[in-house]
């Protein structure tokens, strides 16, 4: 029986996970692009990502591109699994 996930259920984190799961496995999204797409401030997005990273749902990679610091984010396999399970649980509720 699929279970709802407390971490993913928060609206902002649900959208973050949905955006990252929409990418192919292994593809990474730029931090500022993600914030812009979801209309989240850097601070707000950073806090949510930290929560998701601590749970092992996302992987964050800080790197340099053309000598400028850049942060890329992707959903981990565990995060994808939990997201799918959460969405499945929501579907079950809708069917009741």
């Amino acid at each position: 029986m699929p279970e709802l996930d407390k971490l993913i259920h928060a609206p902002a984190r649900l959208k973050i996970m949905a955006a990252l799961v929409a990418l192919a496995a292994g593809e990474q999204l730029d931090f500022s692009s993600l914030g812009k797409m979801l209309a989240l401030t850097d601070g707000n997005l950073g806090a949510h990502l930290q929560t998701l990273e601590e749970a092992g749902y996302v992987k964050i990679e800080k790197t340099f591109v053309a000598r400028k610091p850049r942060t890329f984010v992707r959903a981990s396999a565990r995060g994808r699994g939990r997201f799918e399970e959460h969405v499945e649980a929501l579907r079950k509720i809708c069917q009741v």
Binding site: K6, L14, A19, A22, L29, D30, M37, V87, I93, C94
Partner: protein
């Protein structure tokens, strides 16, 4: 109830959450696809147009023309994917590039194996032109086939673009045999350019 579970939301809340998920996934795919696809599609539209105009008048140059322009297109696509100022910056995994290599490798292999190259040199000009028409039709519909399949995940726009251009190519192949390359240049190449401009303007 485990630590990571929570009381079930109401049916309306669950509906709203699922709608938000669907909308975010669709928006993400559309924005990501549009960020670099537009310029790349325009580039390939220009390449098709150039190559097909040349081939209408100098069909014997098919190998050289496509050899040079495919290289320009491949390098240009790579350059745009890496350096173009995108609204959404994404690190693609290796599968994206390998997909196109496999597709064109597959097409190139079968063109090489199925075309009677040794007979072509001695064949009358009309037969050579007819064979070139077949190769051109196949090689132009192959990436459109990929657009249709990819569009099932990336967005319906790519499905419609692929189907439209394929239909135009087949129509020209059947009903415009003498001016097929010009037809390809302005309908196939033109559709790609218009499609790329449409993506750049409206997919933000």
């Amino acid at each position: 109830m485990t630590e990571e579970t929570l009381p079930a939301p109401s049916r309306d809340e669950a509906h709203a959450a699922l709608a938000a998920v669907s909308q975010t996934i669709a928006d993400t795919r559309r924005i990501v696809a549009s960020s670099v696809s537009g310029p790349i599609i325009i580039l390939w539209g220009c390449i098709w147009m150039t190559a097909d105009i040349v081939l209408q008048y100098r069909p014997e140059l098919m190998g050289q023309v496509w050899g040079v322009l495919d290289f320009v297109g491949g390098f240009g696509s790579w350059y745009l994917a890496v350096h173009y100022k995108q609204d959404v910056k994404i690190r693609r995994n290796w599968r994206f590039g390998v997909f196109w290599l496999v597709l064109f490798g597959f097409g190139g292999l079968w063109v090489y194996l199925l075309v009677p190259w040794n007979l072509l040199e001695s064949a009358p000009a009309q037969e050579s032109f007819a064979m070139m028409r077949k190769i051109e039709a196949f090689s132009h519909t192959l990436p459109m086939f990929a657009y249709v399949i990819g569009g099932l995940w990336m967005g319906r726009f790519f499905v419609w673009l692929g189907l439209l251009v394929t239909a135009l190519i087949v129509a020209g192949y059947l009903w415009m045999p003498d001016h097929f390359c010009l037809w390809l240049a302005f309908t196939g190449g033109g559709s790609l350019i218009i499609g790329g401009l449409f993506i750049r303007k409206f997919w933000k």
